[in-house]
């Protein structure tokens, strides 16, 4: 039994996922936190992974991750649980000038 999660990518990151608009991730139910979802989505895509998290594993400051519409920064960060069938959005924040 595994947990299926959809990871939706913003347009600017799709070139690092062979053009895919979303990635299907299957995880064992005992390891289904945002951190696990991101690990699974980026393990074979290091250029994608480096854009989402720095080398310490921290989410980049201006990258937002939503689980079913809720920003994980206002939850438990990468320790936020992800339920079966959840939709995880990775989006750039509104910043810059």
């Amino acid at each position: 039994m595994s947990v299926a999660v959809r990871v939706i990518l913003p347009g600017v990151l799709r070139e690092f996922a062979d053009g895919a608009t979303e990635l299907a991730v299957d995880l064992p139910p005992e390891s289904c936190l945002v951190r696990d979802v991101l690990d699974a989505a980026t393990s074979d895509r290091p250029l994608l992974g480096a854009r989402v998290r720095d080398e310490t594993g921290a989410l980049r400051r201006h990258v937002n991750v939503f689980v079913d519409g809720r920003d994980v920064r206002f939850g438990e960060g990468q320790e936020t649980p992800v339920a079966p069938g959840a939709v995880v959005h990775i989006l750039p924040s509104v910043s810059g000038g």
Binding site: A50, T56, R60, P92
Partner: protein
């Protein structure tokens, strides 16, 4: 016929300017649009035309990218060109400096924020952190200038592969004589006006250091208030600020062929980062800082812009270039007597490097 290519790194991308006569320029770009380019280097060793860029996306982070066709295509190291080792707990914030090594054509040096020195043995594809400097007992006391805490100056010694100087804001000048294994603070004579004791061993905010190619043991430093010369490869420093309109500024450049010729772009003061007298100008000395001449021909007045530490360079033929925070790039081909425009209406210029190519 040779051509001069000027790489212009800005807050929002990279532009290239090309010219066969350094009077008329064609501008290509933007490349890496919406990504900051605070460092770049042309690697022309062994006939290469390799362009290395330290770029940073506000959203997606920093890295080093390389192009072997002058920006037509770019390569990015999948595993990351620069990654802090896990035990450091640090993450790369910005690549401030990229310098091809004068002794080994495969080696490239990088300076980063947070303050670390990096060595690549594969032309800039991957870098290894220089542990000797990272493990320095002073590191915990190094601070941050307004732009962040970074190693922004790397000067390999052309006479010895074991000898190197770096400078950081803040922290000051450090030197190694054993190929980077150990480092010594080297700020004797450089003032730190922002400390209760203005003559500390380290902690100075040295903005940029340049080496005189004709007299490699002679160095010049533009400090956070203060302009200095060293005649002993950085061991000691002496003020050469007398005669300047101000001792503040960010960049310092030396002539590639004419000994004792040095250029500064003065800034009025720490708290007033505009040109002195609202006249964009270059200060030139042809006697190693004993006297200074004000060079303004072709430069705007009034001007309230600023020139950052890496937004200036020289080419192999003695051309002097600088870019401003309001997106203008100028060149002088007569040692600073006069300037003409290379590019205008760019985003704020962070770095400028020039190469003369076949």
């Amino acid at each position: 016929m040779t051509q001069t290519v000027v790489g212009i790194g800005t807050r929002k991308g990279l532009w290239l300017a090309r010219s066969e006569d350094r009077r008329t320029w064609s501008i290509e770009g933007p490349q890496l649009l919406m990504r900051e380019v605070p460092s770049l280097a042309f690697d022309t060793r062994e006939g290469r035309q390799r362009l290395l860029v330290g770029m940073r996306s506000e959203h997606w982070g920093p890295t080093v990218m390389a192009s072997d066709d002058l920006g037509q295509t770019w390569d990015e190291t999948p595993e990351g060109a620069i990654r802090f080792p896990e035990d450091t707990g640090a993450a790369l914030a910005r690549v401030w400096q990229l310098v091809p090594d004068p002794h080994d054509a495969e080696v490239v040096w990088a300076g980063s924020e947070p303050q670390a020195l990096w060595r690549s043995a594969d032309r800039g594809r991957t870098f290894e952190m220089v542990r000797g400097l990272w493990d320095h007992p002073h590191r915990e006391q190094w601070g941050e200038g307004a732009g962040g805490g970074a190693i922004h100056t790397i000067l390999p010694d052309p006479q010895s592969a074991d000898s190197m100087l770096v400078a950081m804001s803040t922290g000051g000048v450090y030197r190694s004589q054993d190929a980077g294994r150990s480092w010594t603070a080297s700020n004797k004579g450089i003032k730190a006006s922002f400390f209760p004791d203005p003559w500390p061993e380290f902690g100075q905010c040295v903005h940029k250091v340049a080496r005189d190619p004709q007299t490699p043991a002679r160095l010049y430093a533009q400090n956070h208030h203060g302009v200095y010369r060293s005649d002993d490869n950085g061991e000691t420093w002496t003020s050469i600020a007398d005669g300047l309109p101000t001792d503040f500024g960010f960049t310092v450049q030396t002539h590639p062929h004419e000994a004792d010729t040095v250029w500064l772009v003065p800034v009025k003061a720490d708290g007033e980062r505009i040109p002195p007298g609202a006249t964009l100008q270059v200060q030139r000395s042809t006697d190693a800082g004993a006297t200074w001449q004000t060079m303004t021909t072709g430069l705007p007045h009034p001007s309230y812009t600023c020139v950052l530490r890496d937004a200036a360079c020289v080419d192999d033929q003695g051309g002097l270039y600088f870019g401003t925070r309001n997106g203008e790039v100028y060149v002088s081909t007569d040692n600073g007597e006069s300037f003409t425009v290379v590019a205008q209406q760019l985003p704020d210029v962070l770095c400028v490097r020039a190469a003369v190519l076949p």
